[in-house]
């Protein structure tokens, strides 16, 4: 049932021509970032070669690229998650799911995994572009994998938050603005907090992603993402259940 709902989400997304256009435009933007980064690296490479322990292409091209994609995903995810439940409410299609033999857990996990699969497909071009560098040079696979894992966990947390905000309203635009405000708010609080032990660093997904971005696999960061995602999924399940209680 979870798979069925996830596939329905994907099918609905890919029947819209705008999805394909945005998909293609984003690949173009990603490629542009990648080539610009690569060009900058090639320009400074002679100077870097004179250093005793020069940074490689993975540190100078791949890591900043993943950081940029993380920022882009922060703004993109609410645009896609906004319709997950809010649009079902607005179009009054929610009774189809609520009267079907499945629980709120199925509905929420189905929608979450469908959207996560879409966003993973959307950003899958980035690691592929970066791995194309392996044709001409050797890459730091540890750093690459840490970034990919971090980006996956970060996307999951953004999707869970977006899904929850979408469950709070019947207006997709309000869901998008709400989720964007929450994510940008957490990010700004993180970069604005000057004290190194400020709690804002601890609760910001983008702040937590920085360790992954630097190649540092910290289990507390991974646990944070799992908890962040889990809490928002549970809140969404509760919100859907409240739908049956309060109408």
């Amino acid at each position: 049932m979870i798979r069925l709902i996830a596939m329905r989400e994907l099918r609905s997304l890919f029947t819209l021509p705008s999805t394909w256009i945005i998909f293609a435009a984003l690949q173009f933007v990603f490629a542009w970032f990648f080539l610009a980064r690569l060009e900058a690296f090639l320009e400074v490479q002679p100077q870097l070669a004179q250093l005793a322990n020069p940074p490689g292409v993975t540190v100078t091209v791949a890591a900043p690229m993943f950081n940029t994609i993380a920022l882009l995903l922060m703004m993109l995810t609410p645009m896609y998650t906004m319709r997950l439940i809010a649009e079902e409410r607005r179009n009054q299609t929610l009774p189809l799911l609520l009267s079907a033999p499945l629980s709120e857990l199925h509905i929420v996990l189905g929608k979450f995994l469908g959207m996560l699969a879409f966003l993973v497909a959307l950003s899958a071009g980035v690691p592929l572009m970066l791995y194309s560098l392996a044709l001409g040079t050797s890459l730091d696979h540890g750093l690459m994998l840490s970034n990919i894992l971090g980006l996956l966990l970060l996307t999951a947390s953004f999707t869970a938050l977006g899904l929850y905000v979408s469950a709070l309203t019947a207006q997709p635009v309000i869901a998008a603005i709400g989720a964007l405000a929450a994510l940008v708010g957490l990010w700004l609080a993180d970069i604005g907090a000057s004290a190194p032990d400020s709690p804002w660093h601890a609760i910001s997904p983008l702040g937590r992603f920085q360790n992954f971005n630097a190649g540092l696999l910290d289990s507390s960061d991974a646990l944070f993402f799992v908890l962040f995602t889990g809490v928002f999924l549970l809140l969404t399940i509760r919100r859907l259940h409240n739908n049956r209680i309060y109408g």
Partner: protein, 285 residues
């Protein structure tokens, strides 16, 4: 020894009585009425401080079409939402084919098809894709989806539009798709909330014929405020007023209520306007 004999004696008598009844030659003593598919007892529902549904009890048997009749705002849609598990009642219980909807919702809902007031259509999908999704959602196995789809489309007259995007269909066809999703898994109980609202006369005729056909195989409960619909479709009618059921009988009995046969409209108005005060007054006491 004595005590065990005493305790097993009533059970032994019951077995003998049961055997006797099973072999009794006269059918008058055996229950020949069709099985109960939907039973709701003492449903109540509040929204904030407003009491919307008061002590509503309903029973529906196999092969029966029950009309829930009432003015706008009488509580018909809220009752239907509760019967389909979309809304939880504050008190009371609902059984679908003997399964408690509130305790075992997933099992009970397998026997249920629901068309809400606004058909729950994913307008960007093709009719076939949407109905296949609805069939899988109701637990039909992958291998049987094509057959279920073909049957539902045939029953609803949708064979020609299977490949079309739902958003491009007329309102009548969209309503048919809505009914098709409710019956695609051949449920025992079909709940239809104002199925003919906003349709033209030809479409209303087609949809009514379809509902009549559904009533032969399943139990159908439909809400409406159109008396003609009740007259042409329903075996039994329950009249709802301000969240209470104030009258329940066969359609023919309603038409001849008060000794004036064939006057459904006058009798409905008399019941809802004239008798409401007395009924509610009586209940409150």
């Amino acid at each position: 020894m004595t005590s065990s004999f005493v305790s097993s004696f009533p059970a032994a008598c019951w077995v003998i009585l049961d055997l006797d009844l099973n072999h009794f030659p006269f059918p008058a003593l055996s229950d020949t009425s069709p099985e109960i598919t939907l039973s709701a007892r003492k449903l109540t529902r509040r929204f904030g401080n407003r009491h919307i549904i008061h002590d509503v009890s309903l029973t529906l048997r196999r092969g029966e079409v029950l009309g829930l009749l009432g003015h706008n705002g009488a509580g018909k849609s809220t009752t239907m939402q509760m019967l389909t598990g979309c809304l939880l009642p504050d008190s009371g219980n609902i059984e679908i084919c003997g399964i408690d909807l509130l305790r075992q919702p997933i099992l009970a809902k397998k026997h249920l098809g629901y068309l809400p007031e606004t058909p729950p259509l994913y307008r960007e999908l093709r009719v076939d894709d949407y109905l296949a999704f609805a069939a899988r959602l109701r637990g039909i196995e992958n291998g049987k989806v094509a057959a279920a789809l073909a049957q539902a489309k045939q029953r609803c007259g949708l064979e020609a539009v299977g490949g079309k995007i739902i958003a491009t269909l007329s309102k009548g066809y969209q309503q048919r798709v809505g009914i098709a999703q409710a019956i695609v898994h051949d449920p025992e109980v079909v709940v239809l909330d104002e199925p003919t609202v906003g349709l033209d006369p030809a479409q209303i005729r087609d949809i009514r014929a379809l509902i009549r056909e559904l009533g032969d195989r399943s139990s159908v409960i439909l809400s409406t405020h159109l008396l003609g619909e009740v007259e042409s479709l329903c075996d039994r009618v329950e009249i709802m007023q301000k969240g209470r059921l104030i009258y329940g009988d066969t359609t023919a009995a309603l038409a001849s209520h008060g000794g004036e046969p064939g006057r459904l409209e006058e009798n409905f108005i008399r019941i809802t306007e004239g008798e409401t005060a007395a009924t509610i007054g009586g209940n409150d006491k």
